[in-house]
């Protein structure tokens, strides 16, 4: 009996828990719940309360909980023409939320946010392609920030997508939209690589030429300065030599005392100086002192 009582207690506790779980449900702050009765939407609960909500068990009532927080997704990286004929790949991210669960729920099977995002993606991508085509590339990529219209283009895409959503009455609103990525098709990317390579090569060649020119300038300046210094030195040397010659000239009157001797001495000095090396002299017997050979044994 005691054993059965315990079994009954355990069974009763489990049954109570099971029944409570079947007849009640909770809604979190971040959720909105849609209650359907035999498939018809009968209740929308947007805020939680201090105790659980009641419902009839499945299959009479079903509770669909939807996330009412801002949800985000990003569309595909798609190619489009800009107004100036450039091929540009763009991708945007979108923050959206359910503003009207009753309007949202029947439009997407079971309140599927995946289905909602698919619909949103179509709308947003169409708006994006349309707006990108209205602007030249320079308004999306430009070194001059004044010519950029990045924020304005984002706002245009968002406004166009929001207007389309309002027409469809999906119970969805777009909270924010931003351009997440810009890119170029593969073939254009390769062309950009080629151009970047050419630019770099040009810059390298320019630097090389600059180096050579600078070196040449430095060398020629140095040569000029050296020439100046040497010329100055040569001039000064000439002056020095001249001053020496002046002093020597001042002594010439001393030789005037006996010009014959002075000229003879001068001739001797000249002779000595001019026959020091690499000189071939041919004497005959008339030349002093070789005249001493005259009448010798060899002439016999």
């Amino acid at each position: 009996m005691k054993k059965n009582l315990l079994t009954i207690i355990i069974s009763a506790v489990l049954a109570v828990i099971f029944v409570l779980l079947l007849f009640t449900f909770q809604v979190r702050t971040s959720e909105v719940a849609v209650v359907t009765t035999f498939g018809r939407t009968t209740r929308e609960i947007t805020e939680p309360r201090a105790f659980p909500f009641f419902k009839w068990p499945w299959p009479i009532q079903k509770v669909y909980k939807l996330d009412k927080r801002i949800q985000n997704f990003e569309d595909k990286f798609t190619e489009a023409f800009t107004a100036d004929g450039n091929n540009l790949l763009t991708q945007v991210y979108v923050g959206w939320r359910i503003t009207d669960a009753k309007a949202f729920f029947p439009k997407f099977a079971g309140g599927s946010t995946v289905a909602a995002e698919r619909l949103l993606e179509d709308i947003v991508t169409a708006a994006k392609q349309s707006r990108v085509g209205q602007h030249p590339l320079g308004e999306l990529v430009n070194a001059d920030p004044r010519q950029l219209k990045f924020d304005a283009i984002e706002a245009e895409i968002r406004a166009q997508a929001q207007a389309q959503l309002a027409l469809q009455n999906c119970g969805i609103s777009i909270d924010y939209l931003g351009i997440k990525r810009l890119g170029l098709p593969e073939s254009v990317t390769q062309s950009v690589f080629d151009r970047m390579t050419a630019e770099r090569k040009g810059l390298a060649d320019k630097l090389d030429a600059e180096g050579q020119a600078e070196a040449r300038k430095i060398k020629s300046s140095a040569d000029l300065a050296a020439s100046k210094v040497i010329s100055t030195a040569e001039s000064k040397a000439r002056e020095i030599r001249a001053s020496g010659e002046t002093v020597a000239a001042d002594l010439l009157p001393a030789f005037q005392q006996n010009p014959e001797l002075a000229n003879f001495l001068s001739s001797l000095e000249t002779l000595e100086a001019s026959t020091r090396s690499k000189t071939t002299l041919i004497f005959d017997s008339r030349t002093l002192p070789f005249n001493l050979f005259t009448g010798s044994v060899t002439n016999k």
Binding site: L6, I10, V13, F18, L21, T29, S30, E47, P48, A50, W58, D67, R69, Q71, N72, N86, Y93, G95, V141, N142, A143, F150, D151, G178, K180, R181, L182, S187, V192, F193, M196, T197, E199, R200, K201, L203, A204, L207, G211, A215, K219, A226, K236, A237, I240, R241, G244, V247, L251, N258, L261, L265, L268, E272, R276, T280, L281, I282, L288, T294
Partner: protein, 628 residues
Amino acid sequence: MERNLQKNGLVNLVTLLLVGGAVFGLARYSNVLSGQVAAVFLGLGVLVAFVSWFQMRLEDRERLEKLELEEMARSKASATLFEGKDAEVFPAQRSREQFEKFFVPGFTVVLLILQGVAALFLWRWLAKVLAPEPFRQEMVAMSLFALLALILFLIGRFSATIARLENHRLLRPSANHLLLAAYLCAFVALAVAGVKGEFPNTDLYVARGLVIVLGLIAVETVAILIFEIYRPRVKGRVARPLYDSRLVGVLAQPEGLVATAAQTLDYQFGFKVSETWFYTAFKQAARWVFLLQLAALLLSSCFVFVDPGEHALLERFGRPVAGREVLNPGAHLKWPWPMDKVYRYRTEEIQTLRVGAPEEEDEHAQKVVLWTVAHAKEDNFLVANRERVDAGATASPEGRKTPPVSLLTVSIPVQYQITNLVQWVYNHESSSNLLQQLATREVVSYLVSADINELMSSARQEAAMLLRDRIQAAADAQKLGARVLFVGLQDLHPPVKVAPEYQKVVSAFHQKQAKIIAAEAEATSTNTMAGAQALALTNTAEAERIRLELTATARAAAFTNQIPAYQAAPTVYKQRLYAQVFPRAIADARKFILVATNTDNVIQFDLQQKIEDAYIEQVGAAITQPKK
């Protein structure tokens, strides 16, 4: 009286088939991973139940055949009938034997392959599941799983009891599979409840656990097949079916394990331990223990221990508890689950997201990171190029325009911390994802107006600070409740295909510097040498001047002194001076002295060339041998 158990086998088969289909459909619809794995167990159970049922039919046919033969033998109507061969006389027995000999091992091998492939496939499949999809109609799913568990348990228990009482080896495998499936369904229901509670990964863990069990069963099947080869065949001894897993039996009827344990204890201690007061009391109190465990489990959900570095959100029936929305690290009390629920977050942890190319697994292990070597998947961003803006677009080989932009490979780590947990959790469905998108957007919008060359050199640090501020502002505008701590632009470089050209520019710059430095060195040398040469020139001139002056002075003085000697003997003095100077003057000169004067030979000297000795000998010979 022997019961016909074929019907039980068929009921088991049909139950496994129907419930298996229901479990699979329910699990797929509700996105319950463990339910899908349990469906595989049920599928394998269907195969086993079918084979065992078929084998039962064969045995039944054999039994009927024997009965008929015994009847006929008793009537002795035709004794000759028993003189034929066994195969002719006992076709049903022969069929059963052939079935057990060939089909059963073959089927067990197939079963093993299916178990192994299923375990492998399911393990890989679960490994790919990082974040399980949210459940659909989880309360309904949980209830149905519990209901299916009950159905399976009742039928399985009934079959298992009959199999045990009748000692029917062929009914046992399907009964075991029914009971195992019942427990699995109960586990699946508990896993769903766990996910509904505070343990979001329960379903995944249970699913993985079930896959491990499936793998163990496959290993056991391998062992059974190996042992079967060496098993001694004793005629008349009935063997356990090969496909009847002992592991499945133990899991399906764990009380058998307890009984075995009790028998082992009895044997070890030498007396009936299982009949002692302690063992009996423990057995009787088992239900209370179970109830106490349930109560303890429920009570344990009243305590929350928030770890250091964490904060937790406390919700009561889904609504933040006023004044206690965020629980700080430490111990806290709360109402039991499911009234109060706690959601933990690592708020103080510095988290990192990446803009651009994701970080490679071995990136941190790389010691050297070069622009020219791909160290991560490249993600190229458009960058404005100030030098090319005015140049306009050019055409690519495919006819597409090449816009005046450059590309930059970007992999930017953004480090952040959660500062306001309520905002972080309640404002956005995926705040970390949003922060990633905001950061990427800010990087893109910054780069489209930044100059690539500046960005990679002087503006890098400034850009990092600016980007951090802009991402922070964007996060604040969206009320993310996060603080951006750091934005790193260290991995910002030209694409790998172009990077070598950038290095060549740097190389060219250094070569330019080298040329300038070499020219400067040469200039310094030239200037220094010019200075030295100038000094040498002036010094030489100075020396010459001094020599000239001194020589002139000395010569004048000597001349004054020579005058008296000259005046005294002019001819002699001159002759003496000549004699003194002449040898000295011609000392180094080559000298030819033509002494003979009485010849008429004409001698020609080529004084432009060096006069060879042979030539002199020739001249000498000409002199000594005059022409006739």
